[in-house]
């Protein structure tokens, strides 16, 4: 509702208001995409902000501003990772449908009740595990599981089919599970000592 009013203001001012509204979420996403490197995250965010500002007139539906800003952030990041290989960042090879189904079939049920572990400790382990994921998997997990975008929205942001996002989510969650279970095990050992 407010966004429609904002659009009637000067475009530059309207952009700043929209950007400010989503800045914290964009910042933490940039931080995770850059594996916790604050300077890189700020650089990525600034690059994305300037691109968004330049193309703000292309945002036709103000209610989709959040997804639009995240799309620019995500694609800017992926372009950086893919181009020139100037960051030593792993990228993933996506699974085809058969391989994805085979991987799904191999899933063993989880046992560790990770809820028992201190949230703070688990948070640190999760961040470490997230940062070790290849860029595409990390992006998919963060966008869907943390920022709450749908799989379809994340697919649009990463410019891949929905099935690819599903496969990336599965593989990302599979790796995170290992970290969460290890943290839970360790916490139990400490508690029982």
């Amino acid at each position: 509702m407010g966004l429609h009013l904002k659009r009637s203001k000067q475009p530059a001012r309207a952009f700043e208001e929209v950007f400010a509204e989503h800045l914290d979420a964009l910042y933490r996403t940039a931080l995770r995409l850059c594996r916790g490197h604050e300077a890189d995250a700020e650089d990525l965010l600034q690059d994305s902000a300037l691109r968004s500002f330049t193309h703000f007139d292309q945002l036709k539906d103000p209610s989709s501003a959040r997804a639009w800003l995240f799309t620019i952030l995500t694609r800017t990041h992926l372009n950086r990772v893919r181009s020139a290989g100037r960051r030593a960042e792993a990228t993933s090879t996506d699974l085809d449908e058969r391989a994805f189904e085979a991987a799904l079939a191999e899933w063993m049920p989880m046992r560790s009740p990770a809820e028992e572990v201190e949230r703070r400790q688990l948070g640190e382990e999760l961040v470490k595990a997230l940062d070790q994921l290849p860029a595409e998997l990390r992006g998919a997990v963060w966008l869907v599981d943390v920022e709450g975008f749908t799989q379809r929205e994340a697919a649009g942001m990463q410019d891949v089919p929905e099935g690819t996002v599903a496969s990336r989510l599965f593989r990302g969650r599979r790796q995170l599970r290992i970290a969460l279970e290890a943290a839970a095990r360790e916490a139990r050992i400490w508690r029982n000592q």
Partner: protein, 254 residues
Amino acid sequence: MTMQCGRARRLLWPDVGPREATAEVLGAREHASGCEACQSFLHDMLRIQGQVGHIAPRPTAPVEVRDRLFQAIARARTATKAPAPAARLRQILIAGIAALLALSLSLLGYLAVRGGSGESNTLGSIVEDRLRAEKGAGLVSSDSLQVAQWLAERLPFAVQVPLFPEARLTGARLLVANHQSGAVVEYQVQGRGLSYYVLSGGGVGLQQDVRLSAGNGYRVASWHDAGLTHALVGILPGSKLRELARYCIHQMMV
């Protein structure tokens, strides 16, 4: 059986919205209702998703990052702003007034040479004050964006409003000194006033040497870059002023 589980899990994969109830999807549902491993899988996916969403740290953007981002946007806005016809007309008018005032200043300068330097200073100050009033008295604001925009609308060069730790931005005003137009951005640091001056005229290229000087109880840290003179003026220790100047230069380079 193994592939059947894989196919069922693929078809029932969570977070894809409503599914069309095709024969295959119905078959997958039937399979999952009798397969403990598939039920566990679907439960685990939602559980991991919930845990990740719950425990992931959500830091907020630090103030200095926020400020630097908005400064970058403000610079982009100033750089891309094409003058509208009305703005062009205003620019022509301002240029005309400036030319008229420059002529008046020259005339006053000539009269001053003839009439003595004391009178020259007084008349020069009067004209400069008039010129200052012509451009608007000042702005009281703690919003760096608003200050930058206000200055951008009144000066022929862009002024980056620096942000200092422990300093509170209080506003800005215009300055005309020695026939040069400029900006003064005002801050409060530890209960004392701090002024940041930017004047047209200065060395070419970035000269990071900060010079410290003092007068009438005030300390001044000054430096030049690309045709502008910068100065920080306040009743602060020289080391503190130099530190703030370095901070300022760093922000400009970023």
